[in-house]
Amino acid sequence: MSAPLAALFLREWRVARRIGGSGAMGVVFFLTLVAIVPFAVGPDPNLLARIGPAILWIAALLATLLCLDRLFQADAEDGSLDLFHLAETPLELAVLVKCAAHWAATGLPLILAAPFLGLMLQQETMALWGVVATLLVGTPALTLIGAIGAAATVTVRRGGLLMALLVLPLTIPVLIFGVSAAEAASGGTVPFSAPFAILCAITLAALALCPFAAAAALRYLGE
């Protein structure tokens, strides 16, 4: 069972690295979003320090969604998706591996870039670690939830906007607990571990449920 999945991961990783560098695109989009916020809210260091984790999280959410719309559409267009249905490997596992490869190619660069962008937002060391830890745990959930939207819009031309409309409401719990854990890391009344544990639970639940939902959508739309 593992050799086909490793082959799929390698293929997805290579495609992601070679086609226009979607990882780099996501990071540039992330950078742009974070860079324009101080122009909108003003350069007050205290204000930026306070809302910094939230800005980083919203930017990471939008950058993740931006890169997700082609997750299954490219496979549907070149005929690979039909062939996935004919393989011994269950479609659910294929979805999971595609999400893992997508996260490694686009989510990880965001997390690596986040501390540097956090410095632009006057974040202190503990806050930076908090943001990195919450993004590391929370962005896989964003990718997995986004995969449902990508699967549901696989037959829709230019479905990116529709996908965002479908997915953004579902990501609200991730955003709430991600931001509150990141803020708790730099002090406050709430201990860091409480919202962080819920964030971990959301990601684990997404890991268990989203591949089934996305594969069901792909099966239904493939008919």
Partner: protein, 221 residues
């Protein structure tokens, strides 16, 4: 809808496989495309599905591949391993080639050989051997995006060879192929039948198989 089969299939010998389709009805978009279609194909045989555009050739192949639900009737592949479902014993070649244009020919085929051919089988060919059959050895390292339509089609045909599956479902396999490639592919199909394989091909053009039977689908409504 006519259902004449030129040669009735003989009963399968021991170890041989037999694809039996009985009273298959499939509708798409609320319209009945296939109405109570019955035929059978045995190991070593090829069935050419012909008919005008819209007669349901592609629909039939997608239904056989398990990609479309059927309203009535049955599709069964007798004689194979009982624990493997029919789609997993079939290769499906559609209009699209299933190739990633950013990857090289070799990387694409290597992926499909590992993804579709999970069981070790002496009839699985190496990527190099499959490329030799379709005559593309020299461009194994080229990205698929840089190939012509005919060359991409030949890479897609090589996919059928890297992982052995008894049933080949081919939808217009000869699209964009030149004369030499058609002859090479006809030889590959004869080899597949000789190895006990079954072929169901929808095509308007002669496949170059002398012993193939024909299934003529009726005219489009």
């Amino acid at each position: 809808m006519s259902r004449d089969i030129a040669q009735p299939a003989p009963p399968p010998a021991d170890g041989a496989m037999r694809l039996c389709v009985e009273n298959l009805s499939v509708s798409r978009g609320g319209r009945l495309i296939l109405d109570r279609l019955s035929f059978s194909v045995s190991s070593g045989q090829a069935l050419v599905v012909s008919g005008p555009n819209g007669a349901g050739k592609s629909t039939l192949l997608r239904a056989l591949a398990g990609l479309l639900p059927h309203m009535a009737g049955s599709i069964a592949l007798a004689g194979g391993p009982s624990d493997v479902e029919l789609p997993q014993q079939a290769h499906y070649l559609a209009h699209s080639d299933g190739l990633k244009s950013a990857l090289t020919v070799e990387e694409n085929l290597d992926f499909w050989s590992r993804y579709l051919g999970q069981e070790p089988d002496p009839r699985n060919r190496s990527v190099d051997a499959a490329l030799a059959v379709v005559g593309l050895c020299r461009i194994a390292g080229a990205p698929v995006g840089a190939l012509s339509a005919g060359q991409k089609r030949r890479v897609a045909l090589a996919r059928l060879l890297v992982a052995f599956r008894p049933l080949w479902l081919l939808d217009e396999p000869l699209t964009a192929l030149d004369r030499a490639s058609r002859e090479k592919f006809a030889a590959a199909m004869r080899d597949h039948c000789a190895e006990g394989g079954l072929i169901v091909a929808a095509t308007h053009e002669p496949l170059g198989l002398d012993e193939a039977s024909t299934l003529a689908l009726g005219s489009a409504a």
